[in-house]
Amino acid sequence: MILLTSNAVKAQDKDLLDLVDTDKPKKEVVKNAFKSIRVINGHSMEFLSPGTMDFRILHRFGQFNIPNTFAGFDQASMRIGLDFGVTRYLQFGFGRSTFKKEFDGYIKLAPIRQSTGHHAFPATIALVGGMTLNSLPYADPTIHNYFSSRLAYYGQVIIGRKFSEGITLQVTPTIVHNNIVPLASQPNDVYAVGFGGRLKMNKRTAFTWDYFYVLNGIQKDANNLPLNFNPLSVGVDIETGGHVFQLHVSNSAGMNERAFITETTGDWKKFDIRFGFNLSRIFQISHKK
């Protein structure tokens, strides 16, 4: 009844569009949950548009508290990488870091993306599978070394939601498997839970943070003090039109999942933090007809 009367009222407005605009809202994938495909270090719930390539240059400088290095800027570690958007639900990428001369690659797939309209779903659920390849010379060339000892794998589930234009949060349970670990006491399988978020400040800048709680991979020294830490990064995303700059401070120098989850050596409490940035430029490499 209410529906009928409201229709009648509209008809009196002589709104011609109502005569034909009867389509239900279509399913629409929620986009721009993050400005980039990485929150800072970890994968974000965002996907590249199909047919685009993201050229990413990452830098991590030295720790602020190392004397006579111009607050760490004398040292730099970097990763250069390419990421490709295949469909709205599939993305892959690879890169190489100077640290351990390590190659890494991943495939990211979203069975479900947050969407509105018909068949709406409140969150994105994505899966990431990746691997890393250490290409340093073998530590001990006199023994028989297996190629597989260079490899590590990681698997991740990303559960994320863009709550509003300003707020996005995600949780990322992760497992990292190292084929070889330096000490017998270290686990080959390291479990971690990542948390990441964004607070958009205006159209072009956003505050981001990225934290991984490592469940079983924190190593202790003889005095029972930790040797590695949970990686925490906080930063700002700045979008300039063609580029996205992700400036941040972090206790981690690693730029792939294996490195930052299992080998973060800085302690925030001791101010073992460093400046870093991710630079992203997106190219259109295929055009849809």
Partner: protein, 185 residues
């Protein structure tokens, strides 16, 4: 059998010639906001625009879903929706106006008629009176509408930052090109 075909044909002819309202859901509306020295073209096209004309009352209305604009580059589309027209907040642009010289257009006779249109353009939460001249072509029971006009971004509070001013102009040239079928109602 023959009779029924004839009947259907006759009925359809009747409905065409009697049609008072015409519509499309696949109208083409494009814009060009390329700055003079821009290295890339800032153009978008929407092929799912809705347009309705009432030939008796001279009303003409458009409705355009902002997320329906397609671009040469996916990133342009993202920026268009997120940073400029804010499609999540203002999902549709509408134009509601009248054909001011409606009496000089014979919708039942094939031909090309100049048309003057006046009305309100609602975009990005702002409303602005627009007046433009276009062309109405009547052909085989269909109506083709074509027109173009300039929209100043200032009028619609669409902000083009200095950073991209060398690529994106301060205004857009909007081109309308729609073919309308009779509305069977």
């Amino acid at each position: 059998m023959k009779l029924s075909i004839l009947l259907v044909a006759a009925l359809s002819i009747v409905s065409v010639s009697n049609a008072q309202k015409f519509f499309t859901k696949t109208g083409k509306i494009s814009f060009d906001a390329t700055a003079p020295k821009s290295p890339e073209n800032i153009t978008g096209v929407n092929k799912t625009s809705i347009c309705v004309i009432d030939t008796k009352t001279a009303d003409i209305q458009f409705s355009v879903l902002m997320k329906g604009f397609e671009f040469e580059r996916a990133l342009m589309m993202e920026h268009f929706n997120e940073n400029y027209v804010e499609s999540d907040k203002f999902n549709k642009t509408t134009f509601k106006g009248t054909i001011t010289n409606n009496e000089s257009i014979n919708y039942t006779k094939d031909g090309v008629y100049p048309a003057k249109v006046k009305g309100k353009l609602d975009m990005h939460g702002q409303s602005k009176d627009i007046e433009t001249e276009g062309k109405i072509t009547v052909k085989a029971g269909k109506i083709e509408v074509s027109a173009s006009f300039i929209a100043q971004f200032d009028d619609f509070k669409v902000v083009i930052p200095q950073l991209v001013a060398d690529k994106v102009a301060k205004f857009a040239k909007i081109v309308v090109d729609c073919t309308l079928d009779p509305l069977a109602k």
